[in-house]
Each structure stands twice: as C-alpha cells, then as structure tokens.
Symmetry: C2
Subunit: 137 residues, 2 copies
DNA sequence: ATAATCTCTCTAGTAACTATAGGTTCAAGG
DNA sequence: CCTTGAACCTATAGTTACTAGAGAGATTAT
C-alpha cells in the first residue's frame, strides 16, 4: 500500500494535485488508514500514471475522464478514443498556427525599431496602431 | 463623449472586460454622468486600443501595464520596452516548440492504432505506458 | 410619458491547480 | 513505551483574464 507521498513520487503528480483529482472524480477515493490517511494500490498507480501522461500531452480533464471511461470497456469500438485524440490534435495545430503568426508579427515589430528613446520607439507605435500590422492575429 | 458601449464597439473589447480593466488599474476611472454612467474621451479610446492590440499579441496584463507606463515617458530609453517584447517573443517560441513536440507525439500515437476495439487500442495503450513515447513532453 | 435599450454594481463561475493555516497521524530511534 | 520529526489531514483562498447573471437604475427615441 502506497501513501499519497509514495504515489506522488512514483507518478510525478504533486500531492495537492492528487487530492484535487480525487475531488474532481478523476480518481476514486482510496482506502484510508484508521487515522484517515489515504492508502493506494497499484491499480490507482496505473490510473494516475495514465492521467499524468494524458495531461502531459495537453489533454484537459474532461477529455481524460472520457478516455478513462472508454478504456474501461475493452470490447467497445475505439472510434471515440480516436476522436478525442484527433480533436486534441486539431486544437494543438490551431494553437501552433496562431503562435507562429504572433511570432512573426512580434518579430517584425521588434526588429522595426532602431531608436533608443521611447518617444519614437516603433514597438510602442506599432502597439498603438493596429493598422501597422502585417497580418491578422 | 463615448458611452461604455460605444467604446466597446470601437475597440472590440467587451463591456465587462472594460470594467474589469478599470478595476485592475489598466485604464483610469473615467468621468461619469449625473446618473453614474461612464463617459470616455478619445484618450481612453487610444489607450484601450493599445491594450487590446497588446492582448491580441498575447501579452499579459502586467506586461501591458509596464509597457503603458513606459510609453508615457517619451524621453526614456526604450530598452525596457524591447526587453518586455523580447521576453514575450521568447515565451512564444518556447510554447511553439513544446506544441510541436506534442503534435508529433500525438500524431505518432494516433497513427499507431489500426484496431477498432478499445481492448487493443494503441492510443489507450500509449497513454498507459509512458515508456512507449518517442520523446519527452 | 413610456418603452426599449443601455448601464450600474455585485457576486460567482471558469481551468487546473497552488499555497497557506492549523491540526493530526505515522514511523523510526532511544 | 515514548518521543520527535516528517508526512498527512481538511478547508479556504489565490492564481489569470475574463464571462455570466441578477436586479436595479439611466438614457434615448417616439
């Protein structure tokens, strides 16, 4: 049996986060000692590792809850699993595109300034006037 | 004189957000009518446009507050302005890199699965076992 | 004058935690 | 067996940048 600290060390999930996940229903409430401390089994270790991994991949808690539910049923079709993953992938790609646009624009703005005084700093100027932008963002 | 609705329409910043910015000290408290409604001038229109533009570029409120303060002083060196912009640019680039890594990994995971049943779905499997990952994330 | 629209304040909710306070339990050493 | 220090407990509030809603009052057009 693992204490919450043990579980934390093994998964890399911080202790308050583990309690938070329990509160959010992502992991089941574990057994307790007589003194009311949580004790975990390897089942919960696996489950939390799964969650951690999914979080590291950027999935949100709802998506993870859904995935976890789906994975409990080995005979079901896994189309839903793929759909969650693909939606997430699409979201990531959109974010990447947006950030790339921002990067370009910011770079252009910063490079456009060759003065040392705020009074004629192109960065400030560009921020003041959206019309100076090369593209949407 | 502009009402808060006018200001909102002209800047694209929602009304509650304008009030929020006032509360946060990003914009000064404007004049009021006898009936206690806010009335804005073109000064505030400019300021809010500046803020909106900076937000659209992804700058956070603290950074914007700093930029706005700096821009009030035309004789100061603009090194600090550039430093804020460059820090932000660095942050954006880091985010892009992280998302690109995530995208690759997720893509690999999703493509690796050619079954239809949850029981042997590679996506679930990959999430359960971090060792199956090709790289860090 | 009245109706329709706008605005006011205040509170609470969002996502996913993190931090803190004040108290209890556990495990190891003497 | 007892002590002590580390680990654990709950509950509450704070983080970021808003957004939603309630209930009341103001403004504008007809």
């Amino acid at each position: 049996m693992l204490s919450i600290g043990d579980l934390s060390r093994r998964t890399g999930v911080k202790i308050p986060t583990i309690r938070y996940y329990e509160q959010m229903g992502l992991i089941a409430a574990p057994e307790r000692t007589e003194g009311n401390q949580r004790r975990y089994t390897s089942t919960e270790l696996q489950r939390l590792s799964f969650i951690k991994h999914a979080r590291d991949l950027g999935l949100n808690i709802n998506a993870i809850r859904d995935l976890a539910e789906l994975s409990a049923d080995p005979d079901k079709p896994c189309a839903d699993v793929h759909s969650i993953a693909n939606d997430h992938l699409t979201g990531i790609r959109e974010k990447i595109l947006r950030l790339l646009r921002l990067e370009k624009e910011l770079q252009r703005i910063v490079r456009g300034c060759d003065t040392d005084q705020v009074g004629d700093c192109r960065v400030i100027e560009a921020l003041c006037d959206h019309a100076l932008c090369a593209q949407d963002h």
